[in-house]
Assembly symmetry: C2
Homo-oligomer: 349 residues x 2
C-alpha cells in the first residue's frame, strides 16, 4: 500500500485538491450521507441544527454536488438539448439566447448542437445521437427549415420535444410567431398607403416560415382584390436580397416591396439605391424581423417585429412543463408580431 500511495503521488502532476464529495461533508458534519442529501434537496424533516451543521461543512469543503452522479441516480439530467439549425441567422440565434436566459432562471443546463443546412444526414444523425447519449431530459428544436424534421424523427421515442418557429404536424408542442398575420400586416400596410400592388422577396421555399409569409402576403393582396405579382426568392442573406433587388429594379410598375426578412431587405435597399431609385419616394420597402440594426438602415426600415426572445422563453417554459409531467402545457403558443413603422415606407409617387 505504501507503494500504491507513492504511485499515486508520482502520477499527480499537481497535487489536485481532490474535490470533496457528499461523504466527506457527511463525515465532517457528523451525519450520514443521506442527511446531507436531504439538506441539499431541501427535504423536510431535518432538524434545524443539523441542517446548519451540514451547510457549514459544505461551505468549509467548498462542496458542489456532482450532477453526473445525481443524473445517473435520478434519471434526470436537468439538461435540455437544443438543436439549432442555421444558428448564424438573426432569428435562430436570438431565439437560442432567449432559451438560454430562461433556462438559467429555471436552473436547467443547455446543451446546444448547431447544425447547418449543409450538414449531411449522417452528421445530423450523429448530433442527435450525442444529445440522446447525454440523456437530456428533452429537446428543443429551433427548426425553421424542413431539414430539421428528419432530425426530430431520430430522437429517442418518449423524449419530450418542443419545436420553435415551425411545426411538424400535431405530435409535439410548438411555439411560433404568427408569420401569416405578420405578412398580412406588412402587405396591408403598403396597400393602405395607396400602392396598387406589393411585390415580395421570399425566403427559401423549403422553410415553412417563408411559405407562411408568402401565404399571408397573398391573402392580403387577395383581400384587396389585387393579383399577386411573381415572387422573387432569396436565401435570407443580404447578398441574396441584393440579387433580388437587382432583378426588381427592372420592373416598370414597382412601387412597393415586402421582403421576407431584414437582412434581405438591406440588400434590396442597396440595389434600389444603386439604381438611383429613392426609398420611400419611388419605392417603399418593408422587412420582417426587426433586427436591432434595422432602425439604422438607410432609410430606417419599416418592418414586422418578431419577439424571438419571447419565443425562446416560451419554448423553454413549455419544455419544463412537459418534463415535470404536468399535462397542462400548451400545444401551440402563438406570439403576436407587430408592425414597426419607420421611414422606408410611404405613399406611392
Amino acid at each position: 500500500m505504501q507503494d500504491h500511495a507513492g504511485y499515486d503521488q508520482a502520477m499527480k502532476r499537481e497535487p489536485k485538491p481532490a474535490r470533496a464529495v457528499m461523504h466527506d461533508v457527511a463525515r465532517l458534519a457528523g451525519v450520514s450521507h443521506q442527511t446531507v442529501s436531504r439538506v441539499i434537496n431541501g427535504h423536510p424533516h431535518v432538524r434545524e441544527a443539523t441542517r446548519a451543521r451540514v451547510l457549514q461543512a459544505m461551505r468549509q469543503l467548498d462542496y458542489r454536488p456532482n450532477a453526473l452522479a445525481r443524473g445517473l441516480a435520478t434519471r434526470r439530467s436537468r439538461t435540455i438539448g437544443v438543436l439549432s439549425f442555421d444558428a448564424d441567422l438573426y432569428g435562430p440565434s436570438s431565439t437560442l439566447l432567449g432559451i438560454q436566459r430562461a433556462a438559467r432562471e429555471e436552473q436547467y443546463a443547455i446543451s446546444v448542437v448547431a447544425l447547418s443546412e449543409q450538414d449531411t444526414t449522417g452528421s445530423v444523425r450523429r448530433a442527435v445521437d450525442m444529445l440522446a447519449e447525454q440523456s437530456v431530459d428533452g429537446a428543443i428544436v429551433i427548426a425553421p427549415s424542413n431539414a430539421a424534421a428528419h432530425a426530430v424523427r431520430d430522437l429517442p421515442r418518449g423524449m419530450p420535444v418542443v419545436a420553435l418557429e415551425a411545426s411538424f404536424g400535431k405530435d409535439m408542442p410548438v411555439v411560433v410567431v404568427d408569420q401569416f398575420a405578420g405578412a398580412e400586416l406588412a402587405t396591408r400596410h403598403l396597400l393602405e398607403l395607396g400602392h396598387r400592388t406589393v411585390w415580395h422577396v421570399a425566403g427559401p421555399a423549403d422553410w415553412p416560415e417563408a411559405v407562411l409569409r408568402i401565404d399571408g402576403w397573398r391573402a392580403a393582396l387577395a383581400a384587396a382584390g389585387v393579383p399577386a405579382p411573381p415572387i422573387v426568392s432569396g436565401d435570407w442573406s443580404a447578398r441574396s436580397g441584393y440579387a433580388a433587388g437587382r432583378r426588381l429594379v427592372a420592373t416598370p410598375d414597382l412601387t412597393a416591396v415586402f421582403v421576407a426578412n431584414d437582412q434581405m431587405a438591406l440588400g434590396v435597399l442597396h440595389a434600389l439605391h444603386e439604381a438611383g431609385i429613392g426609398v420611400p419616394e419611388r419605392v417603399s420597402v418593408v422587412g420582417f424581423d426587426d433586427m436591432p440594426e434595422a432602425e439604422f438602415f438607410l432609410p430606417a426600415l419599416t418592418t414586422v417585429r418578431q419577439d424571438f426572445d419571447e419565443v425562446g422563453r416560451c419554448g423553454l417554459r413549455t419544455m419544463v412543463e412537459m418534463i415535470d409531467g404536468s399535462e397542462t402545457f400548451a400545444a401551440e403558443t402563438r406570439v403576436a408580431p407587430s408592425l414597426v413603422l419607420r421611414a422606408s415606407s410611404g405613399p406611392p409617387p
Copy 2:
C-alpha cells in the same frame, strides 16, 4: 415479489420501451459487459467474430451508451462549458458558433451559459457553479469585457480555461484577433488616402478590445506625426453609433472616422446621411468586424475583418489539447485581421 411487479406496472403511465443498457447488449451477444465496453471504446484484443456479434446486438437493441454513467466512472464528461458574455453581439455569437462547429468535429458536447453585462455578481457566480457541478472538462470564456474576469476566478481550481478575445493575465491560454494591428490597419489606410487626421468612435472603456483598438489607432496617428483628436465612445450598438455620429457631424474638419465596430459604423453612416454629409465624398468611414451585412450598408462599408469562426475553432482546439494533457498547447494564438476595402472610404474632399 408479484406485488412488486404489479406496483411497477401500475406506476408506469406509458410502457416506456426501457432503454437498453450495456448489460442487455452483453446478454444478447453472449459475452460479459466488459467485452461490450471494449468494443464500444475500440480496445484492441477483441476477436473479430466477437466484435461483430456485439455490434449486431447493439444495433438490434438500439443501444446508446449513457454518457452520465461513463462520465461518472471515467471522471471525464466530454463536455466543455462555454461562458459567453454579451452573446447578442455579432462577435461573441459567431465565436460561439465556431466553437460549436469545432466541438462537434471533436465529439465534445458544449454546455453554454450566456451572461450579460447586467448580470449581478450573484447570478454569474451561480452560472459558474452550474458549470462546475456538471463537471465540464474545461471552460471557454468568451469574455470581451472585464466583468468576465471575476467569473473566471470562481471556476474550480485546476479546471482548464481558455479565454477568447481577451486576456486575463498570463495564467491561461488565450486566442485573440490582433486588435491593435487591426486598428492600425484601418487608421493607416485612411491616412494613406490623404486624410489629415482620423477620428475614432470607440467601444466601452472597460473592454480590453476597445482599448486595444484605441491604442492601435493612436499608434498609427503617432507614427504619422498627427495628434489624436478626442475620442467619442459608444456601447457597440448601432444606436450608440448614431448618437456618436450626431456629435461628430458638428466637427468642422471631419473627413475620416474609424469606428470600433460595424454596428456602430452603421449608426454613424445614418447620422452622416441625415446631416447631408456624403460618404465617402466628404467623410470616409471604416468599421471593424466585417459582419455579413457590412457589404450592403450604404455605402458598402470598408472594414477590418475578424475571423470569429477561426477564433472559436482555435479556442476549442486549444481546450481539447489542454484536456488531453499535452503540454504543447499554445499559450497565445493570434488570428490576423485584414482590411476589406469597400465604398465607404476614399480620398478627402
